[in-house]
C-alpha cells in the first residue's frame, strides 16, 4: 500500500494572502452601493433590470464610464479594494483570526463558497439573456440600411451575433448557465470553473477588441473563475499532466448546527432566484418588443422608403448624395421609430448597451452613426384620411418635426409640415420592395441588387 499525505493548499506563511483575498473579494462582491437603488421606486426594486443589476453588481468607488470604448479606469476599484484589504488586515488581522478561530483550509473553503455563488449568480443571469434573445436581437430595418463603417465596433459585434442561426447564441448562453450550475456543487466546481475560464477568456478579449465597455467587469468574473479553479489545479496537474497517482481533495466541510440547518434553505432560495428571473425575463420578452419600444408605429407602414420628392422651404431639391439637407431614405419600424439617412454625419450615442426594461429603450440607435433616429407620437385628424405625427430626435432631442401624414395608396406616404425652426418641408416617400442578401443567404445561386 502506498500512503499519500494531502498537503495544505495554503502553507502557514501564505495564510496572510488568504485573509487579504477574502477581504478583497468581500469588498468587491457585496452590493452595499447606495447609488444602486437611487432613481428607482420600490416597485422597480423587483423589476427585471434590478435583478440583473444586482446579479451583475460591481463595486464602484470610482464610477465606471457609462460609455463604450477602451476606458479601463474600473481597475482602480480593484486597486482600492486591495489597498483597503491590506489596510484592514494590517490593522485587524490578528483580531479577525482570533475571532474566526478557523484554520486556513476552512477559511479558504468559505472564500470559495462566496466566489462560487457570486460567479454562478452573475453568469446564469448573463447566460439567460442570451437564451432569451434580449441582449442580442436581430437587426432592425434601420440597421439593415446602415453602412458597415457607420457602426461603432461593439454594435457590429452585437449585430453579427444577432444574425446567427442554428441556436448559436442560445448554446453559448446555455454553456454559461451550465458552468454556473456546475459551480453550485463542490465536486463539479472544477468543471464549472474550467468551462467558465474558457468562455470568459473569450468574453474578456472580445470586450477589449470591440470596445464593448465591460472589460473590467468581465475580467473580474474571469478572476473569480481562475481563483476557484486554482484550488483544484494541483490535482489537475498531478492527474492529467504528470499522470501520476493522485488523491482527492481531503477537505470536507463540517457545518455548525445553525449553518447546517439554514444551508438547504439558502440553496433553495438561490435556485428560486434564478428560476424567478428566468420566468420574468421570458415573460418580459414575450409580452414586449424589448429591447425595442412597445408603442406601435403607423399601421402597415413598416419598411424602407425612397425619398421621391423633397421640398425644403418651397425649393425642390433633387436626388443628391452630397446635399446636406436632402434625405436619402427613410425607415418606418414596426414600432414608433422613424429613421432618416441623410448626407451629413450624425451624432452617435456611445452609451453602453444595458438591460433596462423600464428606462428608455435605446438599443436601436446606440452606436449607429449612419442614420438619425426619431420617436413619434401620432394623432388621427378630424377627417379620417389624415394623421398628424410629431417626431422627436432620439439623440438630438431638440431636433423635431411636426407632420401631417397622408397615405394616398399603400406604398406612398406624404409628409407635410415643419421642423423645430418652423422651416417647411414636403416629402413624398415611396416604399421599396427590398430583398436582402442577408436573408437570402448563400445556399442558392442568386442575382440581386
Amino acid at each position: 500500500m502506498t500512503t499519500f499525505a494531502d498537503s495544505h493548499f495554503f502553507k502557514r506563511y501564505r495564510s496572510a494572502i488568504l485573509y487579504i483575498g477574502l477581504i478583497f473579494f468581500l469588498i468587491l462582491s457585496i452590493p452595499y452601493d447606495p447609488n444602486l437603488f437611487t432613481g428607482s421606486s420600490f416597485a422597480d426594486l423587483f423589476s427585471l433590470e434590478n435583478w440583473f443589476g444586482l446579479a451583475t453588481y460591481r463595486t464602484s468607488f470610482i464610477a465606471e464610464s457609462p460609455f463604450v470604448g477602451s476606458d479601463v479606469h474600473g481597475y482602480y476599484n480593484w486597486a482600492i479594494a486591495l489597498a483597503l484589504a491590506l489596510l484592514l488586515f494590517w490593522a485587524f488581522g490578528r483580531k479577525i483570526r482570533q475571532t474566526f478561530q478557523a484554520d486556513d483550509d476552512r477559511v479558504f473553503y468559505w472564500l470559495r463558497v462566496l466566489l462560487r455563488y457570486r460567479l454562478a449568480l452573475a453568469i446564469t443571469f448573463i447566460g439567460l439573456v442570451k437564451i432569451i434573445p434580449i441582449q442580442l436581437p436581430e437587426p432592425t430595418i434601420s440597421e439593415l440600411h446602415t453602412e458597415y463603417g457607420d457602426f461603432l465596433l461593439w454594435k457590429l459585434y452585437y449585430l453579427t451575433n444577432g444574425i446567427a442561426t442554428a441556436g448559436y447564441l442560445p448554446v453559448i448562453g446555455a454553456l454559461e448557465i451550465l458552468g454556473g450550475l456546475f459551480l453550485l456543487n463542490r465536486r463539479t466546481a472544477i468543471i464549472g470553473s474550467g468551462l467558465l475560464i474558457a468562455v470568459l477568456l473569450n468574453v474578456v478579449i472580445v470586450n477589449y477588441v470591440y470596445e464593448i465597455g465591460e472589460q473590467v467587469y468581465s475580467s473580474f468574473l474571469l478572476l473569480l473563475a481562475v481563483v476557484i479553479f486554482s484550488y483544484d489545479w494541483p490535482r489537475f496537474y498531478q492527474l492529467l499532466i504528470k499522470k501520476a497517482a493522485t488523491i482527492p481533495d481531503g477537505f470536507w466541510p463540517v457545518y455548525g448546527r445553525r449553518v447546517a440547518g439554514i444551508r438547504p434553505y439558502l440553496q433553495a432560495v438561490f435556485l428560486l432566484l434564478i428560476a424567478v428571473f428566468s420566468v420574468q425575463a421570458y415573460l418580459s420578452w414575450k409580452n414586449s418588443d424589448y429591447p425595442f419600444p412597445d408603442e406601435k408605429g403607423l399601421e402597415g407602414a413598416a419598411g424602407v422608403y425612397d425619398v421621391k420628392d423633397f421640398v425644403w422651404k418651397g425649393d425642390t431639391i433633387p436626388y443628391s448624395l452630397t446635399d446636406t439637407l436632402r434625405w436619402k431614405d427613410v425607415v418606418f419600424e414596426k414600432w414608433n421609430t422613424l429613421s432618416i439617412r441623410g448626407n451629413r454625419s450624425v451624432k452617435v450615442d456611445s452609451l453602453k448597451p444595458r438591460i433596462a426594461f423600464n428606462r428608455e429603450r435605446n438599443y436601436e440607435y446606440l452606436g449607429n452613426g449612419g442614420r438619425e433616429f426619431f420617436g413619434y407620437t401620432s394623432k388621427k385628424g378630424s377627417d379620417k384620411s389624415t394623421t398628424t405625427i410629431k417626431l422627436t430626435g432620439k439623440v438630438s432631442k431638440g431636433h423635431t418635426f411636426a407632420f401631417i401624414v397622408k397615405r394616398p395608396d399603400k406604398r406612398t406616404v406624404l409628409l407635410d409640415g415643419v421642423n423645430q425652426l418652423g422651416d417647411s418641408l414636403h416629402v413624398r416617400l415611396e416604399k421599396v420592395n427590398k430583398k436582402y442578401l442577408l436573408h437570402e443567404g448563400r445556399r442558392k445561386p442568386i442575382r440581386i441588387y
Binding site: 440600411h145 482527492p248 448624395l321
Partner: protein
C-alpha cells in the same frame, strides 16, 4: 491536519488486467472508425504527397489532409446540413461491420489488451489534429484569412451582406484578435505533439473548434464539417482520461492511472524517435511558418489584392458629373447606368455602384497570387457594386480595366495565377483580351481630390465621369493592413 489517504491498488496491478469484453469490441469499432476518418481516401491526395511541387506544397497537403470523404450528396442538406456528414455516418457503419468481423475472427484470440494499437491510434490522431490546426492557425497568425473591410465594404449596408461575410468581417476588423486566434490554434495544436500536454491541448482544441464549427453552421460558413472533425478527434483524445477525472473529482476517490507507453527496445529506437519527432516539430511549426510568412509578405498570395492602385487616390468618391454619350445624366437611386458613387481602394480595384442586380459570387474568396482572382472583397456582397481590376499606364494616362466578377475558366485561372498582374495592355484589342472584356479609359487628375475618367464601357457607350473624393471617417476605426515587402501604398 493533513488528510491521509490510502491508495488501494498500486499502479502495476492494472497492467495485468485484461480489457473487458465490451471494451475490446468498443475499441475495435473506434480503431476502424478513426483510421477511416484520419487516413485520406482520396487518390489525388496521394499524388500530391508523392509528387509534390515544392516542400511547402508537400507540407500543406499533409497538414490539410483530404477534406473530401466518401461521398458528397448534391443537395442543400448535403452541403449545409445533416447530410454533409454522410461520410461520417458511412465510416461509422463500416466500423460497425468491421468490428463485428474482427470480433468473430478474434473469438479464440488470446490478446487481452490492445494497449499498443490504442497508443498508436492516439498518436495518429494527435498528429492529425496538430498539423491541421497549425495550418489553420498560421493563416490567422499572419493575418490574411480575414482582411479588414475594404472601403467599398465599409460603405455597404448590413442588409447587403450574406451572413458568412459578416462573420468573417467582424474578425477581420481587428488584426489583434485575428493574430490571437491564430496563436491559440498554433499553440493548442503544438501541445498535442507532447504527451504531458495532450489533455490541455485537446481541451482547448475541442472548445475552440466547437465554437468555430457551430459558427460555421450558424452563418453558413461552409467549413463546418472540417472544423467539427477536429472536435470529434479532440474528444476522442480526452476519452481516455474521463474515468480518472470522474473518479478523482466527482467520486473523490484516490486514483492511480496507468497509460501504456511503448518502451525503447533496440538501441537505435531512442535517437530515431527523437530525430523524427524533432524533424516533424521543426518542419511544421517553423519551416511551415516561414513559408506562410513568405507567401504573405514576400509573394502576396493573399485574399486581398496587393498591386497598388492610382497613387494617393484611395477613397470614397461622389460622381459629380456623368456624361453618357455626351449627355449629362442626373443621379437617381433607380438608375442602372449612371454611377451613384465610386471607390478607389489602396490596391488596384475601382468600385462603382449602380442600381442593377448582379449575380453574387457566393464563394469564400480564397487566396490567389493574381490580383484578378482575389475575390474576397466582393464575395457574398450585394448592393449593386461592380468591381473592376485595373492596370495603370502612367505615360499614356490610361487605365486598362476588367470586371472582376466574371467566370474564369479553369485554364484561364491556371494561366493567370502565375504572377500578380495580368498584363492587360498587351491583351487589349486582341482576341484573348476581348474574351476578358478589357476596357481602356483615359484618366486625368486635375486636383488631388478629383479624378476624371473617359472611355467606352462594355456595351460601347461613351462615358465621361468626374469623381470627387468625399471626406469620410469611419466609426470602425483606422483600417489596418500588413505591409508587404513588394509595394508601398
Amino acid at each position: 491536519m493533513a488528510t491521509i489517504q490510502y491508495l488501494e491498488s498500486i499502479p502495476t496491478s492494472q497492467q495485468e488486467q485484461g480489457w473487458k469484453y465490451w471494451e475490446k469490441v468498443g475499441f475495435r469499432f473506434t480503431f476502424i472508425f478513426f483510421i477511416l476518418m484520419v487516413v485520406p481516401l482520396d487518390w489525388e491526395w496521394y499524388e500530391k504527397v508523392f509528387k509534390p511541387e515544392s516542400l511547402y506544397d508537400w507540407m500543406a497537403t499533409i497538414a490539410g489532409g483530404a477534406r473530401t470523404g466518401w461521398i458528397e450528396i448534391d443537395s442543400e442538406s448535403g452541403k449545409w446540413g445533416f447530410a454533409s456528414y454522410t461520410s461520417w455516418w458511412l465510416n461509422g457503419l463500416i466500423a460497425v461491420l468491421g468490428a463485428s468481423i474482427w470480433t468473430i475472427l478474434a473469438r479464440n484470440s488470446k490478446v487481452q489488451r490492445y494497449d499498443a494499437l490504442y497508443y498508436w491510434l492516439r498518436v495518429l490522431v494527435r498528429y492529425r489534429i496538430a498539423l491541421g490546426l497549425i495550418a489553420f492557425g498560421f493563416i490567422k497568425f499572419f493575418p490574411m484569412q480575414m482582411p479588414f473591410p475594404s472601403l467599398a465594404n465599409l460603405n455597404t449596408d448590413i442588409g447587403e451582406y450574406a451572413p458568412f461575410k459578416l462573420y468573417w468581417q467582424i474578425v477581420g476588423v481587428s488584426y489583434k484578435y485575428e493574430i490571437f486566434l491564430g496563436f491559440l490554434e498554433i499553440a493548442a495544436g503544438s501541445l498535442l505533439f507532447f504527451r504531458p500536454t495532450v489533455v490541455i491541448g485537446a481541451i482547448i482544441n475541442a472548445g475552440v473548434l466547437f465554437n468555430i464549427a457551430h459558427a460555421n453552421i450558424a452563418y453558413d460558413g461552409a467549413v463546418h464539417v472540417y472544423s467539427s472533425y477536429f472536435v470529434l478527434l479532440s474528444l476522442f483524445l480526452l476519452l481516455q482520461y474521463l474515468p480518472a477525472i470522474w473518479k478523482l473529482f466527482i467520486l473523490r476517490e484516490p486514483v492511480s492511472t496507468y497509460y501504456y507507453v511503448p518502451k525503447f527496445v533496440r538501441k537505435w529506437n531512442k535517437p530515431f524517435y527523437f530525430g523524427l519527432k524533432a524533424t516533424i516539430v521543426v518542419l511544421f511549426i517553423f519551416v511551415y511558418g516561414f513559408y506562410r510568412y513568405e507567401r504573405f509578405y514576400d509573394e502576396g498570395r493573399l485574399k486581398e489584392p496587393v498591386l497598388p492602385g492610382l497613387a494617393k487616390a484611395a477613397g470614397h468618391y461622389e460622381v459629380s458629373s456623368f456624361l453618357l454619350n455626351g449627355k449629362s445624366q442626373a443621379y437617381s437611386p433607380a438608375d442602372s447606368v449612371r454611377w451613384h458613387e465610386a471607390f478607389f481602394e489602396r490596391y488596384s480595384t475601382l468600385v462603382y455602384k449602380v442600381n442593377k442586380a448582379n449575380s453574387i459570387d457566393l464563394g469564400n474568396g480564397t487566396p490567389s497570387l493574381n490580383d484578378v482572382l482575389k475575390t474576397y472583397e466582393f464575395t457574398g456582397r450585394a448592393g449593386g457594386k461592380n468591381y473592376l481590376y485595373y492596370e495603370i499606364d502612367s505615360t499614356e494616362h490610361a487605365l486598362y480595366l476588367i470586371d472582376k466578377n466574371q467566370k474564369f475558366s479553369k485554364e484561364q485561372r491556371k494561366k493567370l495565377d502565375k504572377k500578380l498582374d495580368v498584363g492587360l495592355k498587351a491583351l487589349y484589342g486582341k482576341a484573348q483580351g476581348d474574351s476578358l472584356h478589357v476596357l481602356k479609359w483615359a484618366y486625368e487628375r486635375p486636383t488631388a481630390e478629383q479624378i476624371k475618367l473617359k472611355g467606352l464601357d462594355a456595351s460601347g457607350n461613351n462615358l465621361e465621369i468626374t469623381l470627387n473624393r468625399v471626406k469620410e471617417s469611419y466609426l470602425t476605426g483606422k483600417e489596418w493592413y500588413m505591409k508587404n515587402t513588394l509595394f508601398a501604398y
